[in-house]
Symmetry: D2
């Protein structure tokens, strides 16, 4: 038993204020949905994604391909998976599905940075107690 | 003189509510900044990006690579360019710069869809009076 | 058995992107939390709060008094109650609590308007099948 | 010459992502517009509204009464005025107008708090170099 975590799924309902005048979820919201799944993944792994006084986890890349719109009150699933792990970055893939049909698929890469007051944020390796909690799913 | 429009630049200040507890702009906001530049581009082209009763312009893909964080009160520029034009999609590239240094670079693809009440949105070619207003910049 | 609905409570966790650089939930988000409780209330009443082609339910007033900050990952409750019912408006009161302690208390008034294409929205009485589903709680 | 500042006005265009499926600005956005005007007011006063390591300026109350909806691309004005000044709070009133007609009127009260790591935020008097920059407008 390793305790490694590779994926997480959240179930979520579209809120009214997330939809735009076209009646569909504004595309920027999908990135927040992906982040919510990411937080669920880190919670499952027993580690905290939020910034501390010394460390933060900024995103260095994010993408989405949109297939079907989501609408107010739609109840969708967001499933995030660890796609690759490097010393300083973790990359995820994420699928949003509505009633089993793909609504959108995304990717996101998170880095670990050291915060020093008055200095720019600087990339650093993830601490082992964080990075060691995740693994890429076996195909 | 063709009147073709290939790019637009907006100048914009980071607002407090766009920043997260790490003290930097939340990554989801960059997509909204890119959209603001896109709206400026369409205005320059003399066409309106908003949905009508019959037509809408959903995004089918969006990406960002993040280089440097933006912070509260930073005044940055977002420059969007037409990257490619097809009958049913327009793809843009976008650069956000702060004091001349690259903060993030993104892409976005917008489609044209027909809205029929009670039916799913369906891809259609952009009307010529819209697509004819844009061109890819000469390299 | 009357089926009248007077209140609803939702349980909700603060998301990272709802917090600002001060590390607390931005005050504008409380209004969205109150709206989420309102949607739960209407669902309990068996009626739909979203706009239709002919009718919409804009807010005509909203207030919040803030007592304690909410922070990332806090799990709070939002309890909304019908405060008064008139033919054209419904007023709510709402309390947000964290671990049983009051975080904020708000009010909101929603109206019913007729949508006519090309004309301004116009106040109209709520249809009986909507207004008849709600009642003020007995004190 | 006192240098006291009593009001500020910003001009602002409604963005697409600020509008909801009813086609109008979501009511929660008005509070962000009011905050933008507040930041302009503090900038005029030569002081910075953002949180520091020791101090923050949370809102303790906020209200809006909505008269007319704002829509995508509307260019409106938000005018904020100092309504009252106490040692620990400043209260504002704010009017949003579109083409000279009142769209909404709001109020907001901001407090000054001391931040101590590990302890709750605690109300404190505004420093004189801040509070001394503002005054209530003469009627």
């Amino acid at each position: 038993m390793t305790g490694h975590v590779s994926e997480a799924t959240i179930r979520r309902q579209v809120r009214f204020y997330e939809c735009d005048p076209a009646g569909i979820v504004h595309f920027s919201w999908f990135f927040r949905y992906m982040e919510e799944a990411e937080y669920a993944l880190w919670r499952r792994a027993g580690v905290r994604l939020g910034p501390t006084a010394e460390m933060a986890f900024p995103r260095v890349a994010a993408t989405f391909d949109y297939r079907r719109p989501l609408r107010y009150e739609d109840e969708f699933e967001a499933r995030i998976q660890v796609a690759s792990i490097r010393s300083k970055t973790i990359k995820y893939s994420c699928e949003l599905t509505l009633n089993g049909e793909l609504a959108a698929s995304g990717t996101m890469t998170v880095a670990c940075v050291r915060k020093t007051p008055g200095a720019p944020m600087r990339a650093m390796p993830f601490p082992p107690e964080i990075i060691g909690r995740f693994s890429v799913p076996r195909s």
